[in-house]
């Protein structure tokens, strides 16, 4: 029997949205020039077939990085690069690497969160100032709800209509 190893798992990145592709998901497309495109789901695959540029599609990582929405340059990205020159296996090194992976991941996500926080903080101050200004300038447009209720021109007059319905013979029978 053919003896081939099938334990070559590798978590790849989607070409379109840059999310991780786990084993058993997605489609790989190999172009005639031998370039491989991996997609995490049919959404990305179909966008690719429509020849959309991921840098222009708002929900992709490529767009977010390009437009400064997400963190672009950080030393933690260096750890994730694909390496083509391996080192001899060393158990201690492997153990330390596994521990380090967790730490680095935490550091990276914290830094990414602060990046977004910083970006949004600017907007908060601006919103506050705008709200303040609007309060000062346009407060006269606002009327209190009590006043609105009492003002005759704004509300429709309430008309009370008495409705009497004779009770039919059938209904009486059902009630009993």
């Amino acid at each position: 029997m053919l003896y081939t190893r099938r334990d070559a798992m590798r978590l790849e990145k989607c070409w379109f949205c840059s999310s991780t592709i786990y084993p058993g998901h997605g489609i790989q497309f190999v172009r005639n020039d031998a370039k491989i495109f991996r997609f995490c789901r049919s959404k990305c695959h179909k966008n690719f077939k429509m020849k959309r540029n991921p840098r222009k599609v708002k929900w992709t990582k490529a767009y977010r990085r390009l437009h400064g929405k997400d963190m672009t340059q950080d030393s933690t990205f260096e750890f994730e690069r694909k390496r083509n020159r391996p080192e001899r296996y060393d158990r201690n090194l492997a153990e330390n690497t596994l521990k380090a992976i967790k730490k680095i991941d935490k550091v990276r996500s914290d830094r990414a969160a602060t990046h977004i926080e910083k970006r949004l903080k600017v907007r908060k101050g601006k919103e506050r100032r705008e709200a303040q200004k609007e309060l000062e300038q346009s407060i006269h447009l606002v009327k209190a709800p009590q006043v609105l209720r009492q003002d005759q021109s704004l509300t429709l007059p309430k008309i009370k209509v008495v409705v009497s319905q004779p009770k039919s013979e059938q209904n009486q029978a059902m009630e009993e």
Partner: protein, 282 residues
Amino acid sequence: MLTSINLVTFSALVYLLWPSLFSSLMATRLQFENNCEVGVFSKLTNAYCLVAIGGSESFYSTFEAELADVIPVVKTSIADTRMIGRLCAGNKNGLLVPHTTTDQELQHLRNSLPDQVVVQRIDEKLSALGNCIACNDHVALAHTDLDRVLTSTVVCNFHQETEEIIADVLGVEVFRQTIAGNILVGSYCAISNRGGLVHPHTSIEDLDELSTLLQVPLVAGTVNRGSEVIAAGMTVNDWTAFCGSDTTATEVSVIESVFKLREAQPSAIVGEMRKSLIDGYV
């Protein structure tokens, strides 16, 4: 009685001819699971030997019997395939594997090979490196269409030609060449540090040109009963050669003579050297 034997010369000569003292008297004929294309399923260099994983151990055993004491013989796969000889290119300084090599295979190679051999995976569109690169320890012939500007995914992430990577990893001078009009130089010639065998239809001018480039004597010949794909049919290093069992005796003798494998027992060497060593009889 002998007046003087130059001890330094003697030991120097023995050092130079050391590999041949281990030599088989002839190139070994073998098969990989009934297939005579030995060069497809194995990669032989002066520092290591890679062997494909076969159904039976006979292929591996033959290599082991010849080489086990001298160099490591490593069973491996590349890109989950068994045609490792055609996918990777290497010499005693390094080994180049294609981008399709899995991480586990790469790590296995790195663990099994000696430290002075640099194992490198390269992103090259032409991923059958064994067909595109023919090399010995000093010089390499490369496919003319190898990538020119290539992003190397080493940590520094700089652009580098494949040719430069070959020169860097294998420690060789690289020439983009064709052999008898074929661009797949790695498959149509087999070269070692002492000689080379090329495609039978190579013209004499081409042979001379290649010979001057490679600085080794070249012969146009065949292997496996007239197969033109030399490197697929045989694999060679400085002191041994392995070829398919279909190889005729004539072809084997050509191989032995061009790669200088016919160095016989140590006594014969000493016999030949005797005249140059001994100054005179008393």
